[in-house]
């Protein structure tokens, strides 16, 4: 059997001198029809560029193929070298033979057209359908990607759909021309875990239905375990390992693959939870949050009733010195808003946040998700680090310099870092910088809002280790906000699961992860991709998060709690 796609010694470069600036350095692979190849690597490994070279979209990003061949077997059996094809030919190929789905479904859809029109357009261009025929085809396409009530969703604009729904629409469009090859570039990275599980299940089912070939690009080696036939691991533009999935996962040959497999946080249902620093009742809490409510008013115009988004709706928890409370939940669950309310960055509507006055002037500090956005790009590290101290009346003297140097060393940054600008550091280094800055005022509590989510897995593991070390050394308490159950398992003593603005389950980390009681916690844990569970099948589940926009004056029914064990409470589910 000949390969559908065969890439030989592919070189791709960028910039004015593409040969000197190569990002992909001699990649070769064969892909047989009906098989799925996963390209795995960290950012900058060249995995996306390799895939984008196959349909030559890389040309539009300023890249040039400087060597090698990409041979695609066409319908009629002729072979075509895509690396040498002209743009007119490629347009034809892109629409008909190679479909593509991207990471960010919002920016890939045109916001001013309904999704129906956009899918119809795909059918008109690639299949020559028109009018009612195209409309019918669009409806069928939406049904094929399991969108409930497809006929009425055709009239929706992209912003009216959730992220998962938008990604399904993108898949429907990509499949409009029945491509023989589908390239999926990190299609689930921007999505929540439960939605990710649904999209993965959908792709697996569609692959069986249509027998299409797939290239799946991801940074998460655990994710592809269930879907890929072959895995190709890339590092700095070079393929370091390429073999069948089970071979790569069970008997990795290359050091880098082993390293990737080790640093991916493995989710083990609470078996790896921390057992240091058990909670005792003797310590008074550092922070006690009591009935916190945050609502944002929405005005929908003159003739609509006033309403409010219930971002956080009655949240209680406390935090004792030296422990990590993880708040987990998906986007829109109110976990970040809770954190921001504790720091005073959003106004709370109701409730109380008692923070015990401690050793510092500002006992609660925060580390943000995006290390690129949370450091002013125009200031040197010295000014960035000194800012918290200066804001609280200290002066730039020898003692302050000593503290800055000490913290820089402690978080593992070079001593000459003070004289540099943030853009001269990598993402992981910047996040270390943010941690050092948060520690400048010697706080007792650090709120970490998705602080490791934007980092590559191996960097993520090292930053987590640093956080745990710092916690032991300095006696810090963490509020760790995350959507990633595997990361949470490594760092949390206690876990609070948030859903639609409320805590649905809270308690000891091992207890919550090993014996989840609430339906949502169970769904969340079942959706975590894990290499160990790759033989299990995901099932499609179209449960939607309820709307958090409530009419003004609405109050949620009072919570009823059930004790599920020592330090493990679950909210009773209302039918």
């Amino acid at each position: 059997m000949t390969a559908l796609l065969s890439v030989r010694d592919l070189h791709v470069g960028f910039g004015r001198d593409p040969r000197a600036n190569e990002v992909v350095k001699g990649v070769s692979f064969d892909l047989e029809a009906g098989r799925t190849l996963a390209i795995v690597g960290e950012s900058g490994s060249g995995k996306s560029v390799t895939a984008l070279s196959v349909n030559r979209l890389v040309d539009f990003g300023g890249g040039r193929i400087t060597g090698g061949s990409i041979t695609l077997q066409q319908d009629d059996g002729t072979r075509l070298d895509l690396a040498a094809a002209d743009e007119r030919m490629l347009r034809h190929i892109r629409g008909r033979d190679i479909g593509m789905i991207f990471q960010e479904p919002m920016t890939s859809l045109n916001p001013v057209h309904t999704v129906g029109r956009q899918i119809e357009e795909a059918f008109r261009l690639n299949r020559g359908l028109s009018g009612a025929e195209a409309r019918n085809a669009a409806r069928e396409a939406l049904e094929r990607v399991r969108i409930p009530d497809a006929a009425s969703r055709l009239g929706y604009y992209p912003h009216q759909l959730s992220g998962g729904m938008r990604q399904r629409v993108m898949i429907a469009m990509a499949l409009a021309s029945s491509p023989r090859l589908l390239i999926a570039d990190e299609p689930t990275t921007a999505l929540d875990v439960t939605v990710q599980a649904q999209i993965m299940a959908l792709l697996a089912e569609l692959r069986e239905e249509t027998g299409m070939t797939m290239i799946f690009i991801t940074h998460d080696i655990g994710l592809v375990a269930g879907i890929a036939d072959r895995i190709m691991v890339m590092q700095q533009g070079v393929v370091v390992e390429q073999a069948d999935t089970s071979q790569v996962l069970d008997h990795p040959q290359h050091d880098y693959t082993r390293h990737l497999l080790q640093s991916v946080p493995h989710f083990t249902s609470g078996r790896a939870a921390r057992h240091d620093g058990q909670r005792t009742d003797s310590k008074p809490p550092l922070i006690a949050v009591d009935g916190l409510v945050v609502r944002f008013p929405v005005s929908k115009g003159l003739f609509h009733k006033p309403a409010a988004v219930h971002a956080v709706d009655g949240v209680d928890f406390d935090l004792v010195p030296g422990e990590t409370l993880a708040i987990v939940g998906e986007s829109g669950s109110g976990k970040s808003t809770t954190a921001r309310a504790i720091l005073g960055l959003v106004q709370k509507t109701r409730g109380a946040i008692h923070a015990r006055a401690g050793r510092g002037v500002r006992p609660i500090q925060m580390v943000f998700q995006d290390p690129f956005a949370s450091l002013n790009p125009r200031l040197k590290v010295e000014s960035l680090l000194a800012e918290p101290a200066i804001a609280n009346g200290q002066h730039k003297d020898a003692a302050l310099r000593e503290r800055m140097n000490f913290l820089l060393r402690r978080v593992g940054l070079p001593a000459d870092a003070l004289d540099r600008y943030p853009h001269q550091f990598s993402g992981g280094q910047r996040q270390r910088l943010c941690i050092a800055r948060a520690l400048m005022l010697n706080p007792e509590v650090v709120v970490l809002d998705e602080a490791v989510s934007a980092l590559d897995v191996s960097v993520q593991a090292r930053v987590l280790d640093l956080l745990i070390d710092l916690q032991r050394e300095l006696g810090l308490a963490y509020i760790f906000i995350s959507h990633d159950m595997a990361v949470v398992e490594r760092i949390a003593h206690r876990i609070a699961v948030m859903y639609a603005g409320q805590i649905v389950e809270i308690g000891d980390a091992a207890a919550v992860l090993s014996d989840p009681q609430h339906g949502y916690t169970k769904r969340l844990i079942a959706a975590v991709p894990a290499i160990e569970r790759r033989k299990q099948r995901f099932t499609l589940d179209a449960t939607q998060v309820p709307s958090l926009v409530r009419p003004s004056g609405y109050e949620p029914p009072p919570a009823r709690w059930r004790e599920a064990g020592l330090d493990h409470r679950v909210r009773e589910e209302t039918a």
Partner: protein, 279 residues
């Protein structure tokens, strides 16, 4: 220095910067009195001479050397342009920053006032102000500054609104940084690039507005030479002495071209997207 070097490497930046440098040099020489002839002294015997070796750009009705007068005129125009743009930048930046920072009511009030000013054509508004206060160099500066303040307010307010929502501003709040510190270090410092571009482009418009006001007799008052005034004097002699119109006209045009080219080049150089790539 880094920006100047990049400006030199940029093709249109090099042309623009050269023109501005030549103009500055001419203005400086004029200011210290190093001109081919005395710009103010009349030589009735040499009136309306065509350009020659002695008078490179000819002489006017009163026998004054056009080149010497141009050098002084450039100085006068530059003083007015730089002073007015400096005032407009200062006022516009403060208004734009505060409108973005305070938000809601203050944003509404400040920006609607700016909108009212923007609704008038620039030259009409300047005429109105001068008609009330009376002509003169100082009034020209004030009038042009008021005309261009709203543009700076808008240029600052937009990016300031988005900077205000960035994580590093939130981070600064969690440390308890003062508003003044956040406004200057976190907002203003990140606005330097768009402001630099806007200042360069505004200099071109200010130069043109000043020439326009002087042409109408409302800017620089005779006998002090000014580009607009020289154009205005030449309009009745166009057929007899076309050089009297040609050289001041070319001087204004080239000056504006110089600032515009520099502004375009700075926009390319300071664009955060290209900057990040080279960094």
């Amino acid at each position: 220095m880094r920006v100047l070097a990049a400006l030199w490497r940029h093709p249109s930046g090099r042309i623009g910067a050269t023109i501005i440098a030549l103009y500055l040099m001419a203005a400086l020489l004029g200011a210290v009195g190093i001109t081919p002839h005395n710009a103010l002294k009349q030589f009735p015997i040499d009136r309306l001479k065509a350009p020659s070796v002695n008078y490179l750009m000819g002489t006017d009705l009163l026998g004054r050397d056009t080149l010497s007068r141009l050098m002084l005129g450039i100085g006068q125009s530059f003083v007015v342009a730089f002073a007015s743009v400096a005032c407009a930048t200062l006022a516009g930046t403060v208004i734009g920053l505060l409108a973005a920072w305070w938000g809601s009511l203050w944003d509404g009030i400040l920006m609607r006032v700016m909108d009212v000013l923007l609704a008038f054509p620039a030259i009409l508004l300047a005429l109105l102000i001068i008609a009330i206060v009376g002509p003169g160099t100082f009034t020209s500066v004030a009038a042009i500054a008021i005309v261009y303040t709203p543009i700076f307010a808008r240029v600052v307010r937009g990016p300031a609104l988005s900077l205000k929502r960035r994580d590093f501003v939130d981070a600064a709040r969690t440390f308890g940084s003062s508003q003044g510190y956040i406004l200057t270090r976190h907002l203003l410092l990140n606005l330097v690039a768009p402001l630099t571009v806007q200042v360069t482009l505004a200099l071109a418009w200010a130069l043109l507005t000043e020439a326009g006001l002087s042409f109408l007799g409302l800017g620089t008052q005779p006998p002090a030479p000014s580009l607009g005034l020289m154009l205005s004097d030449s309009k009745n002699l166009m057929q007899h002495a076309p050089w009297l119109m040609l050289f001041p006209g070319l001087t204004i045009m080239l000056g504006i071209l110089g600032f515009n080219l520099t502004g375009d080049a700075l926009r390319d150089i300071l664009d955060p997207r290209t900057e990040r790539r080279t960094a």
